[in-house]
């Protein structure tokens, strides 16, 4: 009986060590992938001023982080948003003022959208202007709150 228990414990230990090793690999890779994502997103706003990544991840499926962008004369906030539609997906750099106004949207890349001008249409449709309860409008409001919180 005792031998049986010890055998089972050894089996469990073997599985735990294999899974622990896997978790270590996944964890290490996710750190590397995350820092790469930060670098890629940061480069989208390099032209707007000095970019500082804000701590923490955003609680929104459309974007991961908000960047604080300090230029000589003004302060702005940027986020890389993911837009998906049945026609394709696009990554868009969105620039916001400290009070949450949308300053600029720029297409960073798109996949399977019909043509570049159609991809621009895809961007234009999403900020949710005029739709009080649209999900996209909520997202903009969230960005506004995040940027105000970061400023204070």
């Amino acid at each position: 009986m005792a031998v049986d228990k010890r055998e089972r414990a050894m089996e469990n230990l073997a599985v735990a060590s294999v899974l622990g090793f896997l978790a270590f690999i996944v964890g290490a890779l996710s750190f590397a992938a995350d820092s790469n994502s930060i670098a890629v997103e940061r480069s989208a706003f390099d032209q707007d001023g000095r970019v500082v990544a804000l701590a923490g991840h955003a609680d929104d499926p459309a974007f991961d982080r908000v960047f604080r962008i300090q230029s000589d004369s003004s302060l702005a906030f940027g986020a890389v948003l993911t837009f998906r539609s049945p026609g394709g997906s696009a990554l868009v750099g969105a620039l916001f003022s400290p009070n949450g106004d949308l300053l600029e949207l720029r297409l960073l890349g798109s996949c399977a959208s019909r043509l570049p001008e159609k991809a621009q249409d895809l961007i234009g449709a999403f900020p949710g202007a005029g739709e009080a309860l649209a999900r996209a409008a909520d997202r903009v409001r969230y960005l506004s709150r995040a940027s105000q919180g970061a400023e204070s």
Partner: protein
């Protein structure tokens, strides 16, 4: 003659209908379909290579959960690599990148469940057969993605690293936009399956 017929490995997508739901969801373009297909193929190949040695280490009662965890970890690792390779394609593949775990696992275990007698007394899968099926999955995914994008939108988006994906515009209008929708994807896949089965029947192959 029987030997030749036995060595025939049916296409897992077109004959076995393995993983067709996520495949149709992501194969709106050649780029997304290729990256997804490659992920499923690599996961299946890695599982085919890692599962037999793991079976010798891990007790029988723990093998299924361990295999599922391994498959999920492989899908996660591939998803992270895809995000670094091309954030745009990874964003398009979205939730379907982690779901590669299911496709990879299905591909690697399909051969064993379909014909267990061919895998030796210990029941270990042959890596060659799994690799063959993984390659077939990759090519089927790329073909369906290319056909949907080409006929549906008149463009071909190539998989490439970075944000800007090279796109070949073959028509300045969308010839058959419905093919980009999931319903259109299933219709196209139905035609491809019918053609595959007809060719297999002419060649004397028996499909499941």
């Amino acid at each position: 003659m029987n030997e030749g017929r036995d060595s025939f490995i049916p296409n897992p997508v077109l004959a076995g209908l393995v993983g067709i739901c996520p495949l149709i969801a992501v194969s709106k373009s050649l780029a997304e379909a290729s990256v997804y297909g490659l992920g499923a193929a690599l996961c299946a190949f890695a599982l085919g290579a890692l599962a037999p040695p793991l079976r010798t280490v891990i007790a029988d009662r723990l093998q299924v959960p361990a295999l599922l965890t391994l498959s999920s970890a492989l899908a996660l690792i591939y998803g992270l690599c895809a995000r670094v390779y091309s954030p745009v394609i990874a964003a398009g593949l979205w939730i379907y990148l982690p779901l590669l775990a299911v496709s990879g696992l299905s591909l690697s275990t399909l051969r064993r469940s379909a014909s267990p007698g061919r895998f030796g007394p210990d029941g270990q899968s042959r890596l060659g057969a799994v690799s063959m099926e993984a390659l077939m999955f990759l090519f089927s995914a790329a073909f369906v993605g290319a056909a949907r994008e080409l006929i549906g939108l008149g463009t071909l988006t190539m998989p490439a690293p970075g944000m800007a994906l090279p796109r070949i515009v073959l028509a300045d209008f969308a010839p058959l936009r419905i093919l980009v929708s999931p319903a259109g994807g299933f219709i196209l896949l139905g035609f491809v399956i019918a053609a595959y089965r007809a060719i297999a029947r002419v060649g004397g192959r028996k499909l499941p």
